[in-house]
């Protein structure tokens, strides 16, 4: 160490009193180490009276790629009280910038009073350093500056900015930065200063723990402002921080500073606009307190299928004893289900969330009433849920429309007494009851599998009792059938709200003594579903009859991997080696039986047959 100091002293000696030297001088230093930097293979050559050449093999800032082959050559050295050179040539190879070629100027009076300036016109950079007694000032101007580093983690394009850095001997650092335009990428943040210019004014002070942040004010165009104070450790890691964020326009702030951190998550692609302010307290590198005030905030997360409009309120989070949060919104949507205005009072604390009063979310002319909701261990493997809720009668037609299903008329309601979450399977206890077609539909064993994963699925069991076939067939313009219908759809699995698997069965309600009649068109349609001919009744003797009596009807489908394994109400005889099953078993005379032979039918074909049955006008007799 002593030797290094000696060598540095020798260098200063050379520069400080060049006039004293009459003959050529050359000096080689193998290595000089400083705090956070290192210079290797330094050669200084003085050819009196006017030539000074400096060559440094490599300058390395700790953790960075080295600046190589730095050469400074001055042919107009003016020696007097100190040394001065107005036109020096400068070249170097810098990481991410390639070959630098520019001019330098320096004036040296003493180690405590000197100036140096560097201009790199091809890179659009100008750097000026001034040491005056106890302070070094560095001024950097960049104009259309391009930079790209090998890893691609940091880059700049057409960056124009002015920066000023002052280092005082007492350990005080003042930073002023103003961007004029251009773009910067610092993984994962991409900032377009044309859209969001930044003005920063900060003061740091060296202290025992590292660096104290005395002042930090950054103004982000017209979008917002961040003020902070705190403490960094010697490696510039945050220890404590008090930050206040004022956002007049959340949209560019969220897009620049938040969205990049959501890539790959379900919140990726989130858009937020409106106004907000936030206070953040950090200590020991961990968030102690976060208070957010929202005003007119519109939130939209497409991947989650969730949007909330005109959110307002105060949200507080803290690892312990968090204050009460209040949030209200004027509307929104879950997938295509529109939500009405609602509000919520809750506590968000650590990994826990709990409602402090029942929450009623109006939707589909009804509402979801959540009486109790407490989630513990959010974001962890084991989520503990305490939930009680109820569904106030929803309009089924609106729900079916939103989910892209055939539109049933009726209402859906029910009590939901509990929720269990295990291995990312959310199971809702209780059942939902729908009143439709004068009958009953019961939805039980409701499960959501990986609701926030790549493949959210919904599973349920359905049970239908005593649906009025006349109303049902009229709704779907399927022809006309009278009588009652029962059914079960077990192990129903919905992917993207479309059924992909179930064990389904629809059949005439046993011991139903209502009138069983079926129209020609309905027979045609059922026949078509069973893969049979259509329109054959419209000709000849049978065309006289508008409808027919039937004993029982029914269909079953076990759907797996896009194939429906079909069956009917009971086995019929075989034809051409194929086993048949009754879809409609006739009664009285003239008796019509519809027998199906197709065993395996593609589900998409079946659906399109159903659709075309609905669309077709059917035989003229109707």
């Amino acid at each position: 160490m002593a030797l290094k100091h000696l060598k540095r002293a020798a260098l200063f000696l050379v520069l400080a009193s060049p006039a004293a030297l009459a003959s050529d001088l050359s000096l080689s230093i193998r290595r000089v180490d400083g705090p956070g930097w290192r210079a290797e293979n330094i050669e200084v050559q003085l050819l009196p009276p006017k030539v000074l050449q400096l060559r440094i093999g490599a300058i390395t800032l700790t953790g960075q790629a080295p600046i190589q082959d730095l050469r400074l050559s001055c042919r107009e050295l003016a020696a007097g009280q100190g040394a001065r050179c107005d036109k020096a040539k400068f070249t170097a190879i810098a990481p991410g910038l390639g070959k630098l070629d520019g001019t330098a100027r320096f004036e040296f009076h003493s180690a405590l009073r000197w100036q140096a300036a560097l201009a790199l016109p091809s890179q659009g950079l100008q750097l000026a350093l001034t040491q005056d007694a106890d302070q070094i000032d560095a001024e950097l101007h960049a104009k259309n500056f391009n930079f790209s580093e090998a890893s691609g983690r940091y880059a700049a394009e057409k960056l124009s900015a002015d920066a000023k850095l002052s280092l005082h001997n007492n350990g005080r650092v003042q930073i002023a930065l103003k961007t004029q335009g251009g773009q910067v990428y610092a993984e994962p943040v991409f900032a377009d200063f044309g859209v969001l210019p930044i003005k920063l004014d900060a003061a740091l002070i060296k202290n025992a723990k590292g660096w104290g942040i005395e002042r930090w004010v950054s103004v982000l165009g017209k979008a917002g402002r961040v003020e902070a104070s705190g403490q960094l450790d010697a490696g510039f890691k945050l220890l404590t921080l008090m930050a206040v964020v004022q956002a007049q326009d959340l949209a560019p702030l969220v897009a620049t500073a938040v969205q990049p951190f959501l890539i790959g998550s379900k919140l990726d692609g989130v858009t937020v606009d409106g106004r907000a302010s936030a206070q953040l307290a950090l200590s020991d590198g961990a968030v102690q307190n976060l208070d957010v005030q929202l005003d007119g905030v519109n939130f939209k997360a497409d991947k989650l299928g969730l949007s909330l409009d005109e959110m307002a309120g105060d949200v507080h989070w803290s690892p312990m004893s968090a204050a009460i949060s209040r949030l209200r919104w004027s509307g929104g949507a879950v997938k295509k289900v529109a939500l009405g205005a609602s509000q919520m009072r809750f506590r968000a604390q650590g990994k826990d969330f709990s409602l402090l009063e029942p929450w009623r979310q109006p939707l589909l002319e009804g509402a979801l009433n959540v009486e109790r909701l407490a989630l513990r261990g959010l974001g962890g493997a084991q989520l503990n849920a305490d939930f009680t809720g109820a569904l106030e009668p929803l309009n089924l037609t609106a729900l079916c429309k939103a989910l892209g299903w055939p539109e049933f008329t009726g209402t859906l309601a029910g009590r939901l007494p509990g929720l269990t979450v295990r291995d990312d399977v959310w199971t809702i206890d209780g059942a939902l009851e729908a009143q439709l077609f004068d009958g009953n539909l019961r939805v039980s064993k409701l499960q959501a599998v990986q609701p926030f994963g790549v493949l959210p699925r919904v599973m349920a069991d359905l049970e239908m009792r005593r649906l009025d076939l006349e109303r049902l067939t009229r709704t779907f313009s399927f022809g006309r059938i009278t009588g009652r219908l029962d059914g079960e759809v077990k192990n129903l699995r919905l992917l993207n709200w479309s059924p992909v698997a179930f064990d389904g069965r629809l059949y005439s309600t046993p011991d139903d003594d209502s009138k069983h009649r079926i129209s020609q068109r309905a027979i045609d349609n059922i026949s078509a579903i069973g893969g049979g001919p259509t329109g054959f009744l419209a000709h000849g003797f049978m065309s006289v009859f508008e409808d027919f009596g039937y004993d029982r009807l029914g269909i079953s489908c076990v759907l797996r991997d896009g194939i429906c394994q079909m069956d009917g109400v009971e086995p019929a005889g075989s034809a051409e080696g194929q086993k048949g099953y009754y879809l409609v078993k006739g009664a009285w005379l003239p008796r019509i039986n519809v027998v199906g032979y197709a065993q395996r039918v593609s589900w998409t074909n079946l659906l399109s047959q159903l659709k075309s049955a609905q669309a077709s006008g059917g035989p003229k007799l109707e």
């Binding site: 377009d192 890539i263 692609g269």
Partner: protein, 196 residues
């Protein structure tokens, strides 16, 4: 008592003659299944009559070769070889999502910005090949693709009733993605990144 005696005798016999039933991972079938999916996702032309064999002897390939020796071809021809089912709606849906994404990913693969990793995923290996403003969009595409791929490997294993096969399916896919990589694409093997 008289009835219980033989029962305990049998259980003792069972305990001593411990029978282990191994469900071997059907690597050859998994390769075929992977190829079908990869061809669809990358919309490759009909598979060539003879796939060029990778020069490195990959472990699963070796395993298949061993199986070929042990199992007489006649038996295989009788359709007794295990099959890997990729027709489950979950698998089909992930595949469709990956097919839709490929148009956006292909330019990134072509330019070398994105490469195929050794574990059957993708990586943004040269961010500098992507314009600054599009770098995060590229990262998003890769992240979404990787989420889909992980789900694909898991759902194929689950659909075949063998969730523990997930890792093996992933390594079969890793090899097949590379074998089917278009010329100019980058892939990663034990020696680092290489260009196809």
């Amino acid at each position: 008592m008289t009835r219980k005696l033989p029962m305990s005798f049998f259980s003792a016999l069972l305990a001593t003659a411990c029978v282990t039933i191994n469900v071997y991972f059907p690597a050859a079938a998994a390769e075929k299944a992977a190829d079908r999916i990869i061809d669809d996702v990358w919309r490759a032309p009909a598979p060539k009559a003879e796939e060029p064999q990778p020069t490195s002897s990959l472990p699963s390939r070796l395993f298949v070769a061993l199986l070929d020796v042990v199992v007489p071809p006649a038996q295989a021809a009788e359709g007794q070889q295990p099959n890997i089912d990729v027709s489950s709606p979950e698998v089909q849906r992930i595949k469709a999502s990956m097919e839709a994404r490929f148009a956006a990913l292909k330019p990134l693969l072509d330019s070398g910005a994105v490469g195929l990793t050794g574990d059957g995923l993708m990586e943004l290996r040269d961010a500098n090949a992507v314009p600054l403003a599009k770098r995060n969009a590229a990262k998003g595409l890769v992240a979404d693709e990787n989420n889909d791929r992980k789900a694909l490997y898991r759902e194929i294993a689950v659909a075949n009733g063998q969730p523990q096969w997930e890792g093996q399916i992933q390594s079969v896919f890793a090899q097949r993605w590379m074998a089917k990589a278009q010329s100019g694409w980058w892939y990663e093997d034990a020696g680092g990144w290489k260009q196809n």
